[in-house]
């Protein structure tokens, strides 16, 4: 039997294993102590990521609390993903990409009109995926907050210039997230086709949960 390279190094039993197609949403509950591995199957794919406390979804991922607590904008191995109340939600236990973005936010039909022109309004976008997945559990627009973009690269230049640039990922690269509390994970496998975050070509990713 050939070892699946995407599960190498995961300990415990695999309790969930899903391919998220290009441009699609995904929602799953991860229990404290379980590990979620995200695999960038074909490389250069941005994975937009929201987190809610499973017990109280008004407590959710906060980009500002996360970066303030570590004094750094980039999410690296060891980064604790913090809630709007400052609590640890998940920890980046391992990553084969040097760092991940949390300042770029999610693409939306509305922000696309600003960034690329009104002709992009009808295109699919991450906020559409976040809404579609969240609505199944009663969350709505007020629950769409700052997010993480795994595998995405948003450098900040000395003069403040920033932008989403070509990814630093490659086929088969992974990030492992250990849940520190019971969390609901909502993912948009980014559909953006107007900037380099997906190499202008959205591709599938794989979600593996081990316990």
């Amino acid at each position: 039997m050939t070892q699946d390279p995407h599960t190498a190094g995961l300990t415990g039993a695999i309790i969930h294993d899903a391919i998220v197609p290009a441009r699609a949403p995904w929602l799953h509950t991860i229990r404290a102590g379980q590990t979620l591995r995200i695999v960038d199957l074909e490389g250069n794919q941005a994975v937009d990521f929201l987190l809610y406390s499973a017990d109280d979804d008004a407590e959710r991922y906060s980009m500002q609390d996360t970066v303030s607590a570590q004094g750094n904008l980039f999410l690296r191995q060891g980064t604790v993903l913090r809630s709007n109340e400052g609590r640890a939600m998940m920890t980046i236990a391992a990553t084969s990409v040097e760092y991940h973005d949390t300042i770029g936010g999610a693409c939306s039909c509305e922000s696309n009109t600003l960034r690329y022109g009104h002709h992009t309004k009808s295109q699919h976008a991450c906020v559409e995926n976040f809404l579609e997945a969240n609505l199944t559990q009663g969350r709505g627009k007020r629950d769409i907050v700052s997010n993480i973009n795994f595998f995405m690269n948003v450098p900040v230049e000395p003069d403040g210039s920033l932008g989403i640039v070509d990814g630093i990922s490659a086929p088969g690269l992974t990030v492992d997230l250990r849940a520190e509390m019971d969390v609901v994970v909502v993912v948009s496998n980014c559909p953006q086709i107007n900037n380099p975050c997906n190499a202008f070509n959205p591709t599938p990713v794989r979600m593996i949960v081990s316990a």
Partner: protein
């Protein structure tokens, strides 16, 4: 028990005798100030309030209003949330604000963008230049860790709890407290992502003028910056003045400064079209 105040009418007189007391941090009603910009009529003065150190304030402002914030003594930190007053599920989106404008730092001419592709407020004037889009504000846990206590009722109230109270006064709740911007306290982002706080203290009197591009609710907390390295709870009064003003005209230089910003104005003008 104080015998004289056992009488309700004496208690009333005692309470009424406090009227007219002037303190450093308070609202002035009706609004009055001697330093409104030239051309601003006293009749157009909407709001005059000095926000206490550790305090907060909130206000519903019409489209076209100008909101001037003054760091009176040089150590204020204005953490600001902004909502569309007609539909508060539309609110400031810090990620879109930096991403759409291709820049991490706020200053004169920059726009504060909503999550609906519209401009909520624009920065009409700024002589401070030290602002912060990334650090957010303190919460009960960070203030407890730093000062020993972070509760609203204690001596070291935190920004998030201040925001919660301000939002609650518009019927909003925990789901509505969103990422904020910090005015007057800045950060610089180093090449490796390190956030370097720039907290002063600064010269007194620095100011920022925001222009409401739609009808907005602002909630302002004046608590120490969450990354302020000073061990003491250090913050000084923040003065807010607002006055009515013209809706941004089509030839406005801020409106037309960038193609992305122009589309944000076109979107808000379309939203407000009646």
């Amino acid at each position: 028990m104080t015998n004289i105040l056992a009488n309700p009418l004496a208690a009333r007189d005692h309470a009424r005798a406090m009227a007219g007391t002037v303190v450093e941090s308070m609202p002035i009603l009706p609004p009055h100030a001697d330093d409104l910009p030239p051309g601003v009529s006293a009749d157009d003065h909407l709001w005059e309030e000095t926000i206490a150190p550790g305090g907060y304030a909130t206000r519903h402002l019409p489209r076209g209003a100008r909101l001037r914030l003054i760091d009176v003594k040089g150590d204020a930190c204005a953490s600001v949330m902004i909502f569309n007053a007609q539909m508060p599920s539309e609110r400031l989106n810090v990620a879109d604000t930096v991403k759409v404008q291709w820049n991490a730092y706020l200053g004169a001419g920059k726009l504060l963008l909503s999550d609906m592709g519209r401009v909520l407020m624009s920065i009409e004037a700024d002589d401070a230049g030290t602002h912060d889009c990334f650090s957010g504000t303190s919460n009960a846990a960070t203030n407890a860790a730093k000062y020993g206590d972070g509760t609203n009722s204690g001596p070291h109230p935190n920004g998030r709890d201040r925001f919660l109270l301000g939002a609650a006064k518009h019927g909003l709740g925990r789901r509505d407290v969103h990422p904020c911007v910090n005015l007057f306290k800045g950060t610089h982002i180093e090449a490796d992502g390190t956030i370097t706080p720039i907290v002063g203290p600064f010269a007194p009197g620095r100011s920022v003028v925001l222009r409401a591009e739609m009808e907005v609710i602002v909630v302002i907390a004046n608590c120490p910056h969450v990354l302020d390295p000073r061990p003491d709870y250090t913050v000084t009064p923040l003065r807010a003045s607002a006055w009515r003003g013209a809706i941004t005209p089509s030839d406005d230089p801020i409106r037309n400064a960038t193609p992305e910003g122009l589309r944000a104005f076109e979107n808000v003008e379309d939203y407000c079209r009646r």
